[in-house]
Protein backbone atom coordinates (compact mmCIF):
# COMPACT_ATOMS: atom_id res chain seq x y z
CA UNK A 1 0.00 0.00 0.00
CA UNK A 2 1.36 3.43 -0.95
CA UNK A 3 0.24 6.58 0.83
CA UNK A 4 1.28 10.19 0.43
CA UNK A 5 -0.79 11.82 3.16
CA UNK A 6 1.50 10.94 6.04
CA UNK A 7 -1.25 9.12 7.89
CA UNK A 8 -0.28 5.51 7.21
CA UNK A 9 -0.96 3.20 10.10
CA UNK A 10 1.62 0.58 11.01
CA UNK A 11 5.22 0.28 9.88
CA UNK A 12 5.95 0.84 6.18
CA UNK A 13 9.20 -0.23 4.56
CA UNK A 14 9.98 3.26 3.35
CA UNK A 15 8.64 6.25 5.20
CA UNK A 16 9.30 9.92 4.41
CA UNK A 17 7.93 12.67 6.62
CA UNK A 18 7.96 16.38 5.82
CA UNK A 19 10.78 15.80 3.37
CA UNK A 20 12.20 18.96 1.83
CA UNK A 21 15.25 19.87 -0.20
CA UNK A 22 16.34 23.40 -0.91
CA UNK A 23 19.28 24.45 -3.09
CA UNK A 24 21.00 27.80 -3.15
CA UNK A 25 21.66 29.08 -6.65
CA UNK A 26 23.04 32.57 -7.17
CA UNK A 27 21.70 33.79 -3.86
CA UNK A 28 18.26 32.42 -4.66
CA UNK A 29 16.66 29.53 -2.78
CA UNK A 30 15.19 26.81 -4.94
CA UNK A 31 12.76 24.49 -3.17
CA UNK A 32 13.09 21.23 -5.07
CA UNK A 33 11.02 19.18 -2.62
CA UNK A 34 8.56 20.57 -0.07
CA UNK A 35 7.00 18.80 2.89
CA UNK A 36 6.72 15.49 1.13
CA UNK A 37 5.17 12.49 2.90
CA UNK A 38 5.41 8.98 1.54
CA UNK A 39 4.79 5.46 2.81
CA UNK A 40 5.77 2.44 0.71
CA UNK A 41 5.21 -1.13 1.77
CA UNK A 42 7.54 -4.00 0.95
CA UNK A 43 7.05 -5.56 -2.48
CA UNK A 44 5.62 -2.42 -4.08
CA UNK A 45 6.71 -1.30 -7.56
CA UNK A 46 6.32 2.47 -7.64
CA UNK A 47 6.87 4.81 -10.57
CA UNK A 48 7.47 8.52 -10.04
CA UNK A 49 6.49 10.72 -12.94
CA UNK A 50 6.52 14.42 -13.48
CA UNK A 51 8.03 17.15 -15.58
CA UNK A 52 11.73 17.88 -15.57
CA UNK A 53 12.75 19.75 -12.44
CA UNK A 54 9.81 18.42 -10.44
CA UNK A 55 12.18 16.75 -7.95
CA UNK A 56 11.89 13.08 -8.97
CA UNK A 57 15.61 12.31 -9.00
CA UNK A 58 16.18 14.39 -5.88
CA UNK A 59 13.53 12.34 -4.09
CA UNK A 60 15.20 9.13 -5.22
CA UNK A 61 18.59 10.40 -4.03
CA UNK A 62 17.15 11.23 -0.62
CA UNK A 63 15.42 7.86 -0.27
CA UNK A 64 18.66 6.09 -1.27
CA UNK A 65 20.84 8.03 1.13
CA UNK A 66 22.87 9.64 -1.65
CA UNK A 67 21.86 13.10 -0.52
CA UNK A 68 20.67 14.65 2.73
CA UNK A 69 17.37 16.54 3.02
CA UNK A 70 17.10 20.15 4.12
CA UNK A 71 14.23 19.12 6.32
CA UNK A 72 12.18 16.09 7.25
CA UNK A 73 13.15 12.49 7.70
CA UNK A 74 13.46 9.22 5.81
CA UNK A 75 13.08 5.91 7.58
CA UNK A 76 13.79 2.60 5.84
CA UNK A 77 13.00 -0.71 7.54
CA UNK A 78 13.00 1.07 10.87
CA UNK A 79 16.33 2.90 10.37
CA UNK A 80 16.11 6.67 10.18
CA UNK A 81 18.76 7.28 7.56
CA UNK A 82 18.56 11.05 7.78
CA UNK A 83 20.19 10.84 11.21
CA UNK A 84 23.04 8.62 10.15
CA UNK A 85 26.65 9.77 9.85
CA UNK A 86 28.19 9.70 6.36
CA UNK A 87 30.19 6.60 7.23
CA UNK A 88 27.18 4.74 8.61
CA UNK A 89 25.10 5.80 5.63
CA UNK A 90 27.69 4.32 3.26
CA UNK A 91 27.48 0.98 5.05
CA UNK A 92 23.69 1.19 5.09
CA UNK A 93 23.54 1.84 1.34
CA UNK A 94 25.74 -1.17 0.65
CA UNK A 95 23.35 -3.41 2.57
CA UNK A 96 19.93 -1.95 1.73
CA UNK A 97 19.93 -0.18 -1.64
CA UNK A 98 20.43 -1.34 -5.22
CA UNK A 99 20.87 1.50 -7.71
CA UNK A 100 19.98 1.33 -11.40
CA UNK A 101 21.10 4.38 -13.38
CA UNK A 102 19.89 5.79 -16.69
CA UNK A 103 23.42 5.70 -18.17
CA UNK A 104 24.08 2.21 -16.69
CA UNK A 105 27.29 3.49 -15.11
CA UNK A 106 29.22 0.27 -15.49
CA UNK A 107 32.98 0.42 -14.99
CA UNK A 108 34.26 0.09 -18.58
CA UNK A 109 37.50 -1.70 -17.69
CA UNK A 110 35.72 -4.43 -15.73
CA UNK A 111 33.88 -7.39 -17.23
CA UNK A 112 30.16 -7.92 -16.63
CA UNK A 113 31.08 -10.43 -13.92
CA UNK A 114 33.46 -7.98 -12.21
CA UNK A 115 30.95 -5.14 -12.40
CA UNK A 116 28.26 -7.25 -10.76
CA UNK A 117 30.74 -8.49 -8.16
CA UNK A 118 31.58 -4.94 -6.98
CA UNK A 119 28.95 -4.67 -4.17
CA UNK A 120 29.93 -8.13 -2.92
CA UNK A 121 33.55 -7.06 -2.40
CA UNK A 122 32.27 -5.12 0.60
CA UNK A 123 30.84 -8.24 2.20
CA UNK A 124 32.64 -11.03 3.99
CA UNK A 125 31.74 -13.56 1.32
CA UNK A 126 34.42 -15.91 0.05
CA UNK A 127 35.50 -15.84 -3.57
CA UNK A 128 33.46 -18.97 -4.32
CA UNK A 129 30.38 -17.51 -2.65
CA UNK A 130 30.75 -14.26 -4.54
CA UNK A 131 31.04 -16.20 -7.78
CA UNK A 132 27.84 -18.11 -7.01
CA UNK A 133 25.93 -14.90 -6.22
CA UNK A 134 27.18 -13.14 -9.35
CA UNK A 135 26.30 -16.09 -11.57
CA UNK A 136 22.83 -16.23 -10.05
CA UNK A 137 22.25 -12.49 -10.58
CA UNK A 138 23.46 -12.64 -14.18
CA UNK A 139 21.27 -15.68 -14.80
CA UNK A 140 18.24 -13.81 -13.42
CA UNK A 141 18.84 -10.98 -15.90
CA UNK A 142 19.48 -13.47 -18.72
CA UNK A 143 23.16 -12.72 -19.24
CA UNK A 144 24.84 -15.82 -17.87
CA UNK A 145 26.58 -16.24 -21.22
CA UNK A 146 27.98 -12.69 -21.22
CA UNK A 147 29.94 -12.81 -17.96
CA UNK A 148 33.35 -12.28 -19.54
CA UNK A 149 32.19 -9.49 -21.81
CA UNK A 150 33.20 -5.89 -21.24
CA UNK A 151 30.53 -3.17 -21.35
CA UNK A 152 31.72 -2.04 -24.79
CA UNK A 153 30.94 -5.54 -26.09
CA UNK A 154 27.32 -5.37 -24.92
CA UNK A 155 24.25 -3.62 -26.32
CA UNK A 156 22.58 -0.84 -24.33
CA UNK A 157 19.85 -3.18 -23.11
CA UNK A 158 22.40 -5.75 -22.04
CA UNK A 159 24.44 -3.12 -20.23
CA UNK A 160 21.36 -2.03 -18.32
CA UNK A 161 20.60 -5.63 -17.41
CA UNK A 162 24.15 -5.96 -16.06
CA UNK A 163 23.41 -2.78 -14.09
CA UNK A 164 20.29 -4.43 -12.68
CA UNK A 165 22.26 -7.58 -11.82
CA UNK A 166 24.73 -5.36 -9.94
CA UNK A 167 21.80 -3.75 -8.11
CA UNK A 168 20.25 -7.04 -6.98
CA UNK A 169 23.35 -9.16 -6.38
CA UNK A 170 23.65 -8.26 -2.70
CA UNK A 171 19.91 -8.79 -2.19
CA UNK A 172 19.15 -5.21 -1.08
CA UNK A 173 16.02 -4.09 0.73
CA UNK A 174 14.86 -2.08 -2.27
CA UNK A 175 15.86 -0.96 -5.75
CA UNK A 176 16.06 2.65 -6.85
CA UNK A 177 15.89 3.05 -10.63
CA UNK A 178 16.53 6.47 -12.15
CA UNK A 179 15.14 6.49 -15.69
CA UNK A 180 16.29 2.90 -16.31
CA UNK A 181 14.94 2.91 -19.86
CA UNK A 182 15.73 6.52 -20.69
CA UNK A 183 18.66 5.64 -22.91
CA UNK A 184 17.21 2.53 -24.57
CA UNK A 185 15.21 1.77 -27.71
CA UNK A 186 11.68 0.46 -27.25
CA UNK A 187 12.57 -3.22 -27.56
CA UNK A 188 15.42 -3.04 -25.06
CA UNK A 189 13.32 -0.87 -22.78
CA UNK A 190 10.58 -3.50 -22.80
CA UNK A 191 13.09 -6.23 -21.91
CA UNK A 192 14.36 -4.16 -18.99
CA UNK A 193 10.82 -3.37 -17.83
CA UNK A 194 9.87 -7.04 -18.11
CA UNK A 195 12.83 -7.83 -15.92
CA UNK A 196 11.92 -5.21 -13.32
CA UNK A 197 8.34 -6.50 -13.38
CA UNK A 198 9.57 -10.03 -12.71
CA UNK A 199 11.80 -8.86 -9.88
CA UNK A 200 8.80 -7.21 -8.25
CA UNK A 201 6.25 -9.91 -9.08
CA UNK A 202 8.25 -13.13 -8.73
CA UNK A 203 11.02 -12.12 -6.35
CA UNK A 204 9.02 -9.65 -4.24
CA UNK A 205 11.50 -6.81 -4.69
CA UNK A 206 10.48 -3.30 -3.68
CA UNK A 207 11.21 -1.00 -6.60
CA UNK A 208 11.07 2.80 -6.75
CA UNK A 209 11.50 4.02 -10.31
CA UNK A 210 11.71 7.49 -11.82
CA UNK A 211 10.57 7.69 -15.43
CA UNK A 212 9.30 10.02 -18.10
CA UNK A 213 7.97 7.12 -20.13
CA UNK A 214 4.23 6.41 -19.65
CA UNK A 215 4.71 2.87 -20.99
CA UNK A 216 7.37 2.26 -18.37
CA UNK A 217 5.19 3.73 -15.65
CA UNK A 218 2.39 1.43 -16.71
CA UNK A 219 4.46 -1.56 -15.51
CA UNK A 220 4.49 -0.22 -11.93
CA UNK A 221 1.90 -1.05 -9.31
CA UNK A 222 1.46 2.59 -8.47
CA UNK A 223 2.35 5.79 -10.31
CA UNK A 224 3.03 8.89 -8.19
CA UNK A 225 3.07 12.33 -9.80
CA UNK A 226 5.36 15.06 -8.65
CA UNK A 227 4.91 18.70 -9.52
CA UNK A 228 7.14 21.47 -8.23
CA UNK A 229 8.42 19.26 -5.45
CA UNK A 230 5.05 18.08 -4.21
CA UNK A 231 3.39 14.68 -4.66
CA UNK A 232 0.06 15.54 -6.20
CA UNK A 233 -1.69 12.25 -6.79
CA UNK A 234 -1.38 8.51 -7.06
CA UNK A 235 -2.57 6.33 -9.87
CA UNK A 236 -2.89 2.60 -9.60
CA UNK A 237 -1.42 1.19 -12.77
CA UNK A 238 -2.81 -1.85 -14.46
CA UNK A 239 -0.41 -4.14 -16.25
CA UNK A 240 1.88 -5.18 -13.44
CA UNK A 241 -0.87 -5.93 -10.98
Amino acid sequence: MVQIDGRAAGESLVRARGLGKTYQRGGEEIHVLQGLNLDVDAGEFIAFMGPSGSGKTTLLNLLGGLDVPSEGSVTVAGDEITRMSARKLTTWRARHVGFVFQMYNLIPVLTAFQNVELPLLLTGLSKAERRRHVETALTVVGLADRMRHYPRQLSGGQEQRVGIARAIVADPTFLLCDEPTGDLDRKSADEVLDLLGRLAGEHGKTILMVTHDPLAAERAHVVLHLEKGVLVDTVTAGRAR
Binding site: N61, G64, L66, D67, A86, R87, T90, T91, R93, A94, R95, F99, F101, M103, N105, I107, P108, V109, L110, Q114, L118, P119, L121, L122, K127, R166
Partner: protein, 379 residues
Protein backbone atom coordinates in the same frame (compact mmCIF):
# COMPACT_ATOMS: atom_id res chain seq x y z
CA UNK B 1 43.91 -8.98 -2.75
CA UNK B 2 40.23 -8.95 -3.75
CA UNK B 3 40.67 -5.30 -4.78
CA UNK B 4 43.85 -6.03 -6.77
CA UNK B 5 42.07 -6.28 -10.10
CA UNK B 6 40.40 -2.90 -9.47
CA UNK B 7 43.82 -1.27 -9.14
CA UNK B 8 45.39 -3.12 -12.05
CA UNK B 9 42.52 -2.58 -14.47
CA UNK B 10 42.52 1.13 -13.67
CA UNK B 11 46.25 1.32 -14.31
CA UNK B 12 45.89 -0.42 -17.66
CA UNK B 13 42.92 1.58 -18.87
CA UNK B 14 45.26 4.19 -20.41
CA UNK B 15 48.34 2.16 -21.08
CA UNK B 16 50.29 4.95 -22.75
CA UNK B 17 49.65 7.36 -19.92
CA UNK B 18 50.58 4.79 -17.30
CA UNK B 19 53.71 3.85 -19.23
CA UNK B 20 54.74 7.50 -19.58
CA UNK B 21 54.13 8.21 -15.90
CA UNK B 22 56.06 5.12 -14.87
CA UNK B 23 58.70 6.16 -17.42
CA UNK B 24 59.03 9.54 -15.69
CA UNK B 25 59.73 7.73 -12.45
CA UNK B 26 62.16 5.41 -14.22
CA UNK B 27 64.13 8.32 -15.71
CA UNK B 28 64.17 10.23 -12.41
CA UNK B 29 65.26 7.19 -10.42
CA UNK B 30 67.88 6.29 -13.01
CA UNK B 31 69.28 9.79 -12.58
CA UNK B 32 69.05 9.41 -8.81
CA UNK B 33 71.00 6.15 -9.06
CA UNK B 34 73.71 7.72 -11.19
CA UNK B 35 73.97 10.76 -8.90
CA UNK B 36 74.27 8.40 -5.93
CA UNK B 37 77.06 6.57 -7.76
CA UNK B 38 78.91 9.83 -8.53
CA UNK B 39 78.49 11.00 -4.96
CA UNK B 40 79.74 7.63 -3.74
CA UNK B 41 82.71 7.84 -6.10
CA UNK B 42 83.72 11.20 -4.63
CA UNK B 43 83.05 10.10 -1.08
CA UNK B 44 84.68 6.70 -1.47
CA UNK B 45 88.02 7.85 -0.10
CA UNK B 46 86.28 9.26 2.94
CA UNK B 47 84.21 6.16 3.53
CA UNK B 48 87.04 3.65 3.30
CA UNK B 49 89.53 5.74 5.25
CA UNK B 50 91.10 3.92 8.17
CA UNK B 51 90.06 5.34 11.53
CA UNK B 52 93.52 4.68 12.96
CA UNK B 53 95.56 6.20 10.13
CA UNK B 54 96.87 9.74 9.85
CA UNK B 55 98.26 11.45 6.77
CA UNK B 56 101.22 13.80 7.11
CA UNK B 57 101.85 16.26 4.27
CA UNK B 58 103.94 19.36 3.78
CA UNK B 59 102.22 22.36 5.42
CA UNK B 60 102.80 24.51 2.32
CA UNK B 61 101.13 22.14 -0.14
CA UNK B 62 100.74 18.49 -0.86
CA UNK B 63 102.95 18.90 -3.91
CA UNK B 64 105.82 20.00 -1.68
CA UNK B 65 107.87 17.03 -0.45
CA UNK B 66 108.91 15.92 3.03
CA UNK B 67 112.37 14.60 3.91
CA UNK B 68 112.80 10.84 4.18
CA UNK B 69 114.52 11.51 7.48
CA UNK B 70 111.14 12.28 9.05
CA UNK B 71 110.27 8.59 8.92
CA UNK B 72 112.28 7.58 11.96
CA UNK B 73 111.33 10.68 13.92
CA UNK B 74 107.65 9.97 13.27
CA UNK B 75 108.06 6.38 14.39
CA UNK B 76 109.39 7.54 17.75
CA UNK B 77 106.34 9.65 18.63
CA UNK B 78 104.31 7.99 21.41
CA UNK B 79 101.12 6.48 19.98
CA UNK B 80 102.54 5.93 16.50
CA UNK B 81 102.80 2.21 15.75
CA UNK B 82 103.66 2.18 12.05
CA UNK B 83 104.93 4.58 9.38
CA UNK B 84 104.95 4.35 5.61
CA UNK B 85 105.30 6.85 2.80
CA UNK B 86 104.50 7.27 -0.86
CA UNK B 87 105.00 9.66 -3.73
CA UNK B 88 102.67 10.73 -6.54
CA UNK B 89 104.13 9.83 -9.92
CA UNK B 90 101.67 11.13 -12.51
CA UNK B 91 102.89 9.30 -15.62
CA UNK B 92 101.03 8.68 -18.86
CA UNK B 93 100.35 5.19 -20.14
CA UNK B 94 99.98 5.26 -23.96
CA UNK B 95 97.49 8.15 -23.93
CA UNK B 96 96.68 10.97 -21.52
CA UNK B 97 93.09 9.76 -21.37
CA UNK B 98 94.26 6.49 -19.77
CA UNK B 99 94.42 8.08 -16.34
CA UNK B 100 95.03 6.00 -13.23
CA UNK B 101 96.74 6.89 -9.96
CA UNK B 102 100.40 5.86 -9.74
CA UNK B 103 102.28 5.81 -6.45
CA UNK B 104 105.90 5.15 -5.66
CA UNK B 105 105.64 3.28 -2.35
CA UNK B 106 107.85 2.16 0.46
CA UNK B 107 108.16 -1.55 -0.27
CA UNK B 108 108.96 -2.42 3.33
CA UNK B 109 105.91 -0.96 5.04
CA UNK B 110 103.18 -0.06 2.55
CA UNK B 111 101.53 -3.48 2.41
CA UNK B 112 101.24 -3.68 6.20
CA UNK B 113 99.72 -0.22 6.36
CA UNK B 114 96.94 -1.12 3.94
CA UNK B 115 95.73 -4.62 4.77
CA UNK B 116 92.48 -3.93 2.88
CA UNK B 117 94.45 -4.54 -0.31
CA UNK B 118 95.07 -8.27 -0.61
CA UNK B 119 98.16 -9.44 -2.46
CA UNK B 120 99.26 -13.10 -2.77
CA UNK B 121 102.54 -13.64 -0.92
CA UNK B 122 104.40 -15.10 -3.91
CA UNK B 123 103.45 -12.12 -6.06
CA UNK B 124 104.54 -9.70 -3.33
CA UNK B 125 107.89 -11.46 -3.09
CA UNK B 126 108.28 -11.15 -6.86
CA UNK B 127 107.57 -7.42 -6.57
CA UNK B 128 110.16 -7.03 -3.80
CA UNK B 129 112.74 -8.83 -5.89
CA UNK B 130 112.36 -6.63 -8.99
CA UNK B 131 113.35 -2.97 -8.80
CA UNK B 132 111.17 -2.26 -11.82
CA UNK B 133 108.28 -4.28 -10.40
CA UNK B 134 104.76 -2.95 -10.13
CA UNK B 135 101.63 -3.88 -8.24
CA UNK B 136 98.34 -3.12 -9.98
CA UNK B 137 94.74 -3.25 -8.87
CA UNK B 138 92.58 -5.97 -10.34
CA UNK B 139 90.18 -3.48 -11.99
CA UNK B 140 93.11 -1.66 -13.56
CA UNK B 141 94.58 -4.93 -14.83
CA UNK B 142 91.22 -5.85 -16.34
CA UNK B 143 90.85 -2.43 -17.93
CA UNK B 144 94.10 -2.70 -19.85
CA UNK B 145 94.16 -6.52 -20.10
CA UNK B 146 97.41 -6.66 -18.14
CA UNK B 147 98.69 -9.88 -16.70
CA UNK B 148 101.60 -10.87 -14.52
CA UNK B 149 104.92 -10.45 -16.30
CA UNK B 150 103.74 -7.76 -18.70
CA UNK B 151 106.18 -4.92 -19.29
CA UNK B 152 104.58 -1.50 -19.21
CA UNK B 153 106.09 1.68 -20.61
CA UNK B 154 105.00 4.85 -18.82
CA UNK B 155 106.01 8.33 -19.81
CA UNK B 156 106.97 10.50 -16.86
CA UNK B 157 105.51 13.99 -16.59
CA UNK B 158 106.66 15.21 -13.17
CA UNK B 159 109.65 12.91 -13.31
CA UNK B 160 110.62 13.17 -16.95
CA UNK B 161 111.75 10.29 -19.08
CA UNK B 162 110.57 6.90 -20.18
CA UNK B 163 109.92 4.50 -17.36
CA UNK B 164 109.32 0.81 -17.68
CA UNK B 165 107.72 -1.50 -15.17
CA UNK B 166 107.05 -5.21 -14.86
CA UNK B 167 103.66 -6.31 -13.49
CA UNK B 168 104.65 -8.52 -10.56
CA UNK B 169 101.49 -8.52 -8.45
CA UNK B 170 97.78 -7.87 -8.73
CA UNK B 171 95.89 -6.79 -5.62
CA UNK B 172 92.20 -7.09 -4.74
CA UNK B 173 90.19 -5.00 -2.31
CA UNK B 174 88.64 -6.75 0.67
CA UNK B 175 85.51 -4.59 0.38
CA UNK B 176 83.57 -3.70 -2.71
CA UNK B 177 84.34 -0.01 -2.19
CA UNK B 178 88.12 -0.50 -2.03
CA UNK B 179 89.88 1.16 -4.94
CA UNK B 180 91.29 -1.44 -7.33
CA UNK B 181 92.59 1.00 -9.91
CA UNK B 182 95.91 1.97 -8.35
CA UNK B 183 99.39 1.36 -9.69
CA UNK B 184 102.27 1.01 -7.24
CA UNK B 185 105.96 0.74 -7.86
CA UNK B 186 109.05 0.93 -5.67
CA UNK B 187 110.01 4.34 -4.26
CA UNK B 188 113.69 3.36 -4.24
CA UNK B 189 113.49 2.96 -8.04
CA UNK B 190 111.98 6.46 -8.35
CA UNK B 191 114.53 7.99 -5.98
CA UNK B 192 117.39 6.38 -7.83
CA UNK B 193 116.32 7.71 -11.24
CA UNK B 194 114.88 11.10 -10.48
CA UNK B 195 117.02 14.14 -11.12
CA UNK B 196 115.85 16.35 -8.25
CA UNK B 197 114.52 16.19 -4.72
CA UNK B 198 116.36 13.00 -3.95
CA UNK B 199 115.74 11.71 -0.43
CA UNK B 200 112.28 13.22 -0.28
CA UNK B 201 108.84 11.64 -0.21
CA UNK B 202 105.36 12.91 -1.08
CA UNK B 203 103.60 12.18 2.19
CA UNK B 204 103.64 9.89 5.18
CA UNK B 205 100.92 7.69 6.50
CA UNK B 206 101.15 6.71 10.13
CA UNK B 207 99.13 4.23 12.11
CA UNK B 208 98.23 5.12 15.67
CA UNK B 209 97.52 2.83 18.58
CA UNK B 210 93.92 3.99 18.88
CA UNK B 211 91.61 6.39 17.07
CA UNK B 212 91.20 8.10 20.45
CA UNK B 213 94.85 9.15 20.29
CA UNK B 214 94.38 10.96 16.99
CA UNK B 215 94.10 14.50 18.33
CA UNK B 216 97.11 14.11 20.58
CA UNK B 217 99.32 12.47 17.92
CA UNK B 218 98.32 15.00 15.23
CA UNK B 219 99.39 17.78 17.56
CA UNK B 220 102.61 15.99 18.50
CA UNK B 221 103.63 15.47 14.88
CA UNK B 222 102.99 19.03 13.76
CA UNK B 223 104.74 20.42 16.85
CA UNK B 224 107.73 18.18 16.24
CA UNK B 225 108.34 19.64 12.80
CA UNK B 226 107.29 23.21 13.57
CA UNK B 227 109.83 25.85 12.54
CA UNK B 228 111.67 23.33 10.35
CA UNK B 229 112.28 23.87 6.60
CA UNK B 230 109.45 21.38 5.91
CA UNK B 231 106.65 21.95 8.40
CA UNK B 232 103.92 19.36 8.40
CA UNK B 233 100.16 19.33 8.34
CA UNK B 234 98.66 16.20 9.77
CA UNK B 235 95.07 15.00 9.48
CA UNK B 236 93.14 11.85 9.98
CA UNK B 237 92.91 9.89 6.75
CA UNK B 238 89.17 10.62 6.65
CA UNK B 239 89.65 14.38 7.01
CA UNK B 240 92.42 14.27 4.42
CA UNK B 241 90.15 12.46 1.91
CA UNK B 242 87.29 14.85 2.67
CA UNK B 243 89.51 17.85 1.97
CA UNK B 244 90.29 16.38 -1.46
CA UNK B 245 86.61 16.07 -2.23
CA UNK B 246 86.05 19.62 -1.05
CA UNK B 247 88.68 20.93 -3.41
CA UNK B 248 86.54 19.74 -6.32
CA UNK B 249 83.63 21.91 -5.21
CA UNK B 250 80.54 21.20 -3.20
CA UNK B 251 79.58 17.98 -4.97
CA UNK B 252 77.02 17.16 -2.30
CA UNK B 253 75.15 20.45 -2.82
CA UNK B 254 75.27 20.08 -6.58
CA UNK B 255 73.85 16.58 -6.46
CA UNK B 256 71.20 17.50 -3.91
CA UNK B 257 70.11 20.47 -6.00
CA UNK B 258 69.83 18.47 -9.22
CA UNK B 259 67.98 15.66 -7.42
CA UNK B 260 65.57 18.07 -5.73
CA UNK B 261 64.67 19.82 -8.98
CA UNK B 262 64.09 16.51 -10.75
CA UNK B 263 61.90 15.10 -7.99
CA UNK B 264 59.91 18.30 -7.56
CA UNK B 265 59.19 18.32 -11.29
CA UNK B 266 58.25 14.66 -11.11
CA UNK B 267 55.90 15.42 -8.24
CA UNK B 268 54.12 18.12 -10.25
CA UNK B 269 53.89 16.04 -13.42
CA UNK B 270 52.61 12.93 -11.63
CA UNK B 271 50.20 14.94 -9.47
CA UNK B 272 48.75 16.56 -12.58
CA UNK B 273 48.47 13.21 -14.37
CA UNK B 274 46.67 11.64 -11.43
CA UNK B 275 44.35 14.64 -11.14
CA UNK B 276 43.39 14.20 -14.81
CA UNK B 277 42.95 10.45 -14.30
CA UNK B 278 40.65 11.04 -11.34
CA UNK B 279 38.67 13.69 -13.19
CA UNK B 280 38.07 11.27 -16.05
CA UNK B 281 36.75 8.69 -13.61
CA UNK B 282 34.54 10.99 -11.59
CA UNK B 283 31.35 9.15 -12.51
CA UNK B 284 32.87 5.72 -11.85
CA UNK B 285 34.16 6.78 -8.47
CA UNK B 286 30.70 8.14 -7.67
CA UNK B 287 29.18 4.77 -8.61
CA UNK B 288 31.65 2.99 -6.34
CA UNK B 289 30.61 5.26 -3.50
CA UNK B 290 26.93 4.84 -4.33
CA UNK B 291 27.13 1.06 -4.08
CA UNK B 292 28.80 1.31 -0.68
CA UNK B 293 32.53 1.92 -1.04
CA UNK B 294 33.58 4.42 1.61
CA UNK B 295 35.41 7.71 1.18
CA UNK B 296 38.60 6.31 2.79
CA UNK B 297 38.45 3.35 0.40
CA UNK B 298 38.39 5.68 -2.61
CA UNK B 299 41.21 7.73 -1.07
CA UNK B 300 43.38 4.65 -0.61
CA UNK B 301 42.48 3.27 -4.05
CA UNK B 302 43.80 6.36 -5.84
CA UNK B 303 46.90 6.59 -3.65
CA UNK B 304 47.73 2.92 -4.13
CA UNK B 305 47.41 3.32 -7.89
CA UNK B 306 49.96 6.16 -7.84
CA UNK B 307 52.26 4.28 -5.53
CA UNK B 308 52.19 1.19 -7.75
CA UNK B 309 53.18 3.32 -10.76
CA UNK B 310 55.93 4.97 -8.68
CA UNK B 311 57.23 1.63 -7.40
CA UNK B 312 57.28 -0.01 -10.83
CA UNK B 313 58.81 3.02 -12.57
CA UNK B 314 61.26 3.62 -9.75
CA UNK B 315 62.25 -0.05 -9.67
CA UNK B 316 62.92 -0.05 -13.41
CA UNK B 317 64.98 3.15 -13.16
CA UNK B 318 67.10 1.86 -10.30
CA UNK B 319 67.49 -1.49 -12.04
CA UNK B 320 68.78 0.26 -15.15
CA UNK B 321 71.13 2.36 -13.03
CA UNK B 322 72.46 -0.81 -11.40
CA UNK B 323 72.96 -2.42 -14.80
CA UNK B 324 74.75 0.69 -16.00
CA UNK B 325 77.17 0.60 -13.09
CA UNK B 326 77.92 -3.08 -13.63
CA UNK B 327 79.75 -2.04 -16.81
CA UNK B 328 82.25 -0.18 -14.65
CA UNK B 329 83.60 3.36 -14.68
CA UNK B 330 82.63 5.02 -17.98
CA UNK B 331 84.98 7.98 -17.43
CA UNK B 332 88.19 6.08 -18.07
CA UNK B 333 89.49 6.15 -14.51
CA UNK B 334 88.20 9.41 -13.01
CA UNK B 335 85.58 7.58 -10.94
CA UNK B 336 87.24 4.30 -9.96
CA UNK B 337 84.57 3.51 -7.39
CA UNK B 338 81.58 3.32 -9.75
CA UNK B 339 79.13 1.30 -7.73
CA UNK B 340 75.47 1.62 -6.74
CA UNK B 341 75.17 0.36 -3.17
CA UNK B 342 72.07 -1.40 -1.84
CA UNK B 343 71.48 1.46 0.59
CA UNK B 344 71.09 3.87 -2.36
CA UNK B 345 68.63 1.49 -4.03
CA UNK B 346 66.54 1.32 -0.86
CA UNK B 347 66.68 5.12 -0.46
CA UNK B 348 65.70 5.57 -4.11
CA UNK B 349 62.72 3.26 -3.79
CA UNK B 350 61.62 5.00 -0.59
CA UNK B 351 61.93 8.35 -2.34
CA UNK B 352 59.85 7.10 -5.30
CA UNK B 353 57.15 5.88 -2.92
CA UNK B 354 57.09 9.18 -1.05
CA UNK B 355 56.80 11.12 -4.33
CA UNK B 356 54.04 8.72 -5.41
CA UNK B 357 52.23 9.26 -2.14
CA UNK B 358 52.55 13.04 -2.31
CA UNK B 359 51.52 13.13 -5.98
CA UNK B 360 48.49 10.97 -5.34
CA UNK B 361 47.28 12.50 -2.12
CA UNK B 362 45.57 15.61 -3.50
CA UNK B 363 43.71 13.87 -6.35
CA UNK B 364 42.85 11.05 -3.95
CA UNK B 365 41.54 13.49 -1.40
CA UNK B 366 39.36 15.22 -3.98
CA UNK B 367 38.10 11.82 -5.20
CA UNK B 368 37.19 10.77 -1.69
CA UNK B 369 35.28 14.01 -1.12
CA UNK B 370 33.21 13.76 -4.30
CA UNK B 371 29.51 14.31 -3.68
CA UNK B 372 27.81 11.37 -5.32
CA UNK B 373 24.82 13.29 -6.64
CA UNK B 374 27.03 15.99 -8.17
CA UNK B 375 29.42 13.50 -9.70
CA UNK B 376 26.65 11.39 -11.23
CA UNK B 377 25.17 14.48 -12.83
CA UNK B 378 28.44 15.28 -14.65
CA UNK B 379 28.84 14.02 -18.18
Amino acid sequence: MKYGHLILTNLFRKKTRTALTAGSFAVALFLFGILAVVRGAFQQGVEVAGADRLVVVNRVSIIQPLPLAYRDRLARIPGVTQVTFANWFGGVYQDERNFFPQFAIDRETYRQMYPEFVIPDDQWQAFLGDKEGAVVGEALAERFKWKLGDRLPIKGTIFAGSWEFNVRAIYKGRRVQDDETQFWFRWDYLDERKQFRKGNVGWYTVRIDSPDSAVRVVKAIDELFANSPAETKTDTEKAFAASWVKQMGNIELLITTIGSVVFFTLLLVTGNTMAIAVRERTRELAVLKAVGFSDPFVLVLVIVETIVVAAVGGGVGLGLAKLFTLRGDPTGGLLPFFYLPASAIVSGLALALVVGLLAGILPAFSASRLRIVDALRRI
